[in-house]
């Protein structure tokens, strides 16, 4: 199994989620994060004091997948989250050793 972390632009979340659902993904977890990268942040000025705000709001999607779905999931995320503007984000793939579904105690493949 793989565990995929995708950092995307917030307004793309619904689109990505729907595309993954169509692919057969049954669950995922979302976190609001702040991203720092090539995309420049902005300046905020409060009564003359300028602050370089280097972080931009992003959304992090975490999703556990059976191996066979991983490539298509990557492709799907990349396609739907893309706006071709800087700051579109990244996808990271990890090896996932074990999964347990809390409600049932099922593990691994069945637990996804």
């Amino acid at each position: 199994m793989k565990f995929v972390i995708a950092i995307i632009k917030p307004f793309k979340l619904d689109e990505v989620r729907e595309a993954l659902t169509e692919l057969g993904v049954q669950g995922l977890t979302v976190t609001e994060v702040k991203g720092f990268g090539r995309q420049k942040g902005h300046t905020e000025i409060y009564r003359g004091a300028e602050y370089e705000v280097s972080f931009l709001p992003k959304v992090k999607i975490e999703v556990a997948l059976p191996d066979e779905l991983t490539d298509r999931a990557l492709e799907t995320i990349q396609r739907t989250a893309r706006t071709d503007k800087i700051g579109d984000g990244k996808v990271f793939v990890f090896d996932l050793e074990q999964v347990v579904r809390i409600r049932t105690g099922e593990t691994n493949a069945e637990a996804l």
Partner: protein, 432 residues
Amino acid sequence: MKRLLFAILALTASSGSALAQEAMEAAAEAAPTLSSGDTAWMLTATALVLLMTIPGVALFYGGMVRKPNVLATVMQSFTTTCLITIVWMVIGYSLAFGEGGAYVGDLSNLFLNTLSLEQINGSIPESVFIIFQLTFAIITAALITGAVAERMKFSALLLFLAAWSILVYSPITHWVWGGGFLADVGVLDFAGGTVVHINSGVAALVACLVLGPRTGYGREVIMPHNLVLTVMGASFLWVGWFGFNAGSAVAADGLAGMAMAVTQIATAAAALAWMFAEWLAHGKPSVLGIASGAVAGLVAITPASGFVDPMGALCIGAIAGIICFWGATWLKRKLGYDDSLDVFAVHGLGGIVGALLTGVFAVEAIGGTPGLLEGNPGQVWTQAYGILATIIYCGIVSFVLLKVIDLVIGIRVKEEDEREGLDIRLHGESVL
């Protein structure tokens, strides 16, 4: 000698005071004097109406937008307050209440240059009357911002509101309250159903049509970010509206009291009507619903508040609550425009309903004019005439103004600004 006798008689009259009182009052009418009681109330009413815009409208609207636009939204109300104050002082008041003719006042009071300490308007200082009226000019402009929220350029908005206040608000005020042609034909508008609400509602509708819908509207999730702010805003609107309606009596008397009473009743009725309608239609009563309903009721009772009795208020409120609910849910979806915060459905529709129903429920014993139910169907037509005149004039001028500004500096922010949020992009600030 007759006067002496009269005076003495007065003092000897059976009740010992009633006649004297009348004598005094008669005299007072001849040479108007300041009443400290009326002045006290109007100073207060002015503060209350200001409260309606800041923080009232600011919060009511601020809670309904998405979080990255909340500061931009409250800033629009706050800046409008400042801007219209200057516009009103410079020229707006003169155009609205200067002598002038049937359509617009004159320029005799530019910069309030004729205002003196002793000048009196009825029984209150002229200065109080000017600022009381200013707070109406402010809120009318501020209400419009709800329709263009989350996508209009700040600079274009300021330009538009300043021009609109001069070219639309001041003349229409003159028509109704400044001795203009709508006053002449007998249109009833106690506290601004036509001047304030239909006016802002129509301008709002035009503005959101010219501007186009928000990016993602109808496809993406565009939800209010913090309705606690909206409830707070609705609360300040409600409380402040006592100044709006009861203050429009321009005296602390029975008429002011009755205006306050019917305001309270109509508002409650409309709020519950909207809530129950929603409960039936969608299965749950929502706080946004009841707050919206309250505002709809406040709007609808505004023109009627000096003319109807409690039962009339109950009916007006209930009807307005349901119609505005229908407008904000069904009608808007049907017509497909994106009036971000439903200014047209609540203020436009609510104002029209209220203006018409004033013609229906007016009670002669209260405001001096009977309505349909007291056998005067003509009043409904008079009301309709006032409504139409306002819609047509306001609609056309608002449209032209927006188109001109769009040509010159553009009225819409870049899509990127909309995506990232106006707070950061236009104002360099954010709520953490």
